[in-house]
């Protein structure tokens, strides 16, 4: 962000007008960054497609698999005395599987969100945080090399 044109707008209206102007002038969306203190639901800038939901499903499947391994393998290995009842009890183990499925889905959704939102990265802030905190909208355009 250090090598960028930065403009602070007092109102969202001005910011949107400027965005349209930039697009009319052919500035690619990928080089425009809009910072705001609330989601603007802009029509003009389309963020790349997200895979949070897909990863969450995959995380759920992984959680389920781990739960099956934990319950089934542990019970078989310990060799419990169950009085003739089955060592592996799908009804009862299903509850543990359900919970760990949800846990897997939640954790992967969190991880994927952090990754896709480019959080937790060591880089300096824009220096415009105070303006954003006051409700202003910051538009930054990366300089072409």
């Amino acid at each position: 962000m250090a090598d960028a044109h930065i403009k602070v707008f007092d109102t969202r209206r001005e910011a949107v007008a400027a965005l349209h102007e930039l697009q009319r002038e052919g500035v690619p969306d990928s080089s425009i960054t809009v910072l705001s203190s609330e989601p603007l639901h802009l029509e003009t800038l389309h963020p790349p497609k997200t895979r949070i939901a897909g990863f969450s499903i995959a995380g759920g499947v992984l959680g389920a698999a781990l739960a099956v391994l934990l319950t089934v393998l542990t019970s078989r290995r310990v060799g419990l005395v169950t009085g003739g009842m089955p060592i592996v009890s799908p009804w009862a183990f299903g509850i543990v599987v359900f919970e760990l499925t949800a846990l897997g889905a939640i954790l992967t959704a969190l991880g994927r969100m952090i990754l896709e939102a480019r959080l937790l990265r060591r880089r300096p802030l824009t220096g415009q945080e105070d303006a954003v905190a006051k409700g202003k909208v910051v538009i930054a355009i990366e300089r072409a090399e």
Binding site: D10, T11, R12, R13, V16, A17, H20, E21, T33, V34, L35, S36, S37, E38, P39, L40, H41, L42, E43, T44, L45, T50, I52, S56, T71, T74, S75, V78, L80, S89, A92, F93, I95, V96, F98, E99, L100, A102, L103, A105, I106, L107, A109, L110, R112, M113, I114, E116, A117, R118, L119, L120, L125, T126, E129, D130, V132, A133, K134, G135
Partner: protein, 479 residues
């Protein structure tokens, strides 16, 4: 002004068609300035006021008393409790069930409101989500305290371990462990995600060590549109996943009882009965918390009568559902007329527990239902009174589910009685003090109303100006 109205009328239809996710407001709605919203909603963090200090002192004293009682118990053992054969579970498990139930106020209700797109949820969600985390923490303490020597808890972990522990995944207590921890972790994440932008706001508005601390927890949030998009998507995914988890938690808590063949416990409807009761008590706790926050932090402009009215209607619905389940449960026992069931039944209806039972009916149904059904009484004060009654009634109900069945096992020679000691009563009071204390500390560290979410729900113009984001700028040039 006329000019603004003209612009508004010209573009009113386009706004709705262009952004389906944007809240539906009339263009005549005014938007308070960002600085006013920030100042109002961050006031509890910056200038908590004497009400906050008074709350902390009083709740802190109650917690200190409970810590003393706990120390006394640790020194002398569980014998200082009133539990004895055949009542081995009493107030501790009552508190466990009660607080896990209260935890349904937050994440579940917040998730349902998010998934259904209820716009009025915005000032409510964080108040609710915080309740879940703290109530779960308090509820989950009790099985550990009930171990008698909780400092040996580490013997149970990992599961399985090398200490000869029997890893019994068939036990509802093991299910509890997985369910409660999943719900707790999920709820913390669900509380934390929408908190990130507000942590960044606090970072940017604070100095020194606080700035660094908020900076670490805001994960380098900058407020790019990509980050907003990903945050909202992740919260939506979480909301969908967390709803079945929340339902499963109290269902599994009910199975702690229903999986036994004890009279009036072995019931197929215990799961939904417990979940309904949990949501019922949770909404009541939420209304109480919101009313207190509104008063202490002067958030009258944000927590409005409409929020209490809507939550009051939800409370009324849950009161009717709770009564339906209770009636169904008791009718089935009475109609079956089995001697063991009838012993427990009679102890509640006309025996030693009758005052508590009828007190529960009065507190959970007879007063709140008619009160909340009449619009004139569905005010902030009215919903508060109804909620206070419901919280008391639901605590009684949890006690009534547990203790009468334990005092009346199937063999009559084994019947017993139970009377709580001062230690248990102090610990019970301590849970309420601890909850209030944790909640108060939370409001001092973080905005109790999500600042960005509140702003997002307002019309998009600045200072009452009807701005329409995403439409060509030329349309807005004033003549």
């Amino acid at each position: 002004m006329l000019e603004l109205e003209w612009i508004a009328s010209k573009h009113a239809g386009r706004v709705r068609s262009q952004d389906a996710r944007a809240p539906k407001y009339t263009m005549a709605d005014k938007r308070p300035s960002d600085s006013k919203i920030n100042s109002d909603l961050l006031a509890p963090v910056n200038h908590p006021g004497w009400g906050w200090y008074a709350t902390v002192v009083v709740s802190g004293l109650v917690v200190l008393a409970a810590v003393g009682a706990l120390g006394y118990q640790f020194t002398l053992g569980l014998g200082v409790w009133g539990i004895n054969r055949p009542v081995f579970w009493a107030l501790d498990i009552t508190n466990f069930v009660f607080w896990i139930g209260i935890s349904h106020a937050g994440t579940l209700i917040s998730a349902i409101l998010r998934v259904t797109g209820a716009e009025w949820r915005r000032p409510v969600t964080r108040c609710a989500e915080a309740i879940t985390v703290f109530a779960l923490m308090i509820g989950a303490m009790f099985p550990i305290i009930h171990l008698g020597r909780p400092w040996f808890f580490y013997w149970l972990v990992p599961y399985p371990n090398e200490r000869g522990l029997w890893p019994n995944f068939r036990s509802p207590l093991a299910w509890d462990f997985f369910a409660i921890n999943t719900y707790l972790l999920g709820s913390i994440i669900y509380l934390y995600l929408p908190l990130i932008p507000d942590l960044a706001l606090l970072r940017d508005k604070s100095r020194g060590a606080l700035r660094r601390i908020y900076g670490v927890f805001s994960l380098g949030w900058r407020g790019t549109q990509l980050q907003w998009d990903r945050l909202e998507r992740a919260v939506r995914v979480m909301a969908v996943v967390i709803i079945p988890v929340a339902v499963s938690v109290h269902t599994i808590v009910s199975w702690d009882f229903a999986m036994t063949i004890r009279p009036m416990w072995h019931s197929t409807m215990f799961g939904p009965y417990f979940v309904a009761g949990a949501i019922f008590s949770g909404i009541a706790a939420l209304i109480l918390a919101m009313a207190i926050i509104r008063r202490v932090f002067h958030l009258e402009e944000y927590l409005r009568p409409i929020h209490f009215n809507n939550l009051g209607l939800l409370l009324l619905t849950m009161s009717l559902i709770w009564f339906y389940f209770t009636f169904g449960e008791y009718l089935t026992s009475w109609y079956g007329n089995e001697p063991e069931e009838m012993a427990v039944f009679n102890s509640k209806i006309s025996g030693p527990y009758a005052p508590l039972f009828w007190g529960t009916v009065v507190c959970c149904f007879a007063i709140p239902a008619p009160m909340l059904a009449i619009k004139r009484f569905r005010t902030i004060k009215g919903t508060m009174i109804a909620s206070a009654l419901v919280v008391i009634g639901m605590w009684f109900e949890r006690f009534l589910i547990i203790v009468p069945t334990l005092t009346h096992p199937r063999f009559t020679f084994n019947w017993g009685s139970y009377k709580p000691t001062w230690v248990e009563l102090t610990l019970t009071a301590g849970t309420f003090g601890y909850f209030v204390l944790l909640y108060a500390i939370f409001t001092r560290l973080f905005p109790i109303i999500a600042v960005w979410e509140y702003k997002e729900g307002l019309p998009l113009g600045e200072h009452g100006e009807p701005t329409i984001v995403g439409t060509p700028d030329v349309e807005y040039e004033s003549a």
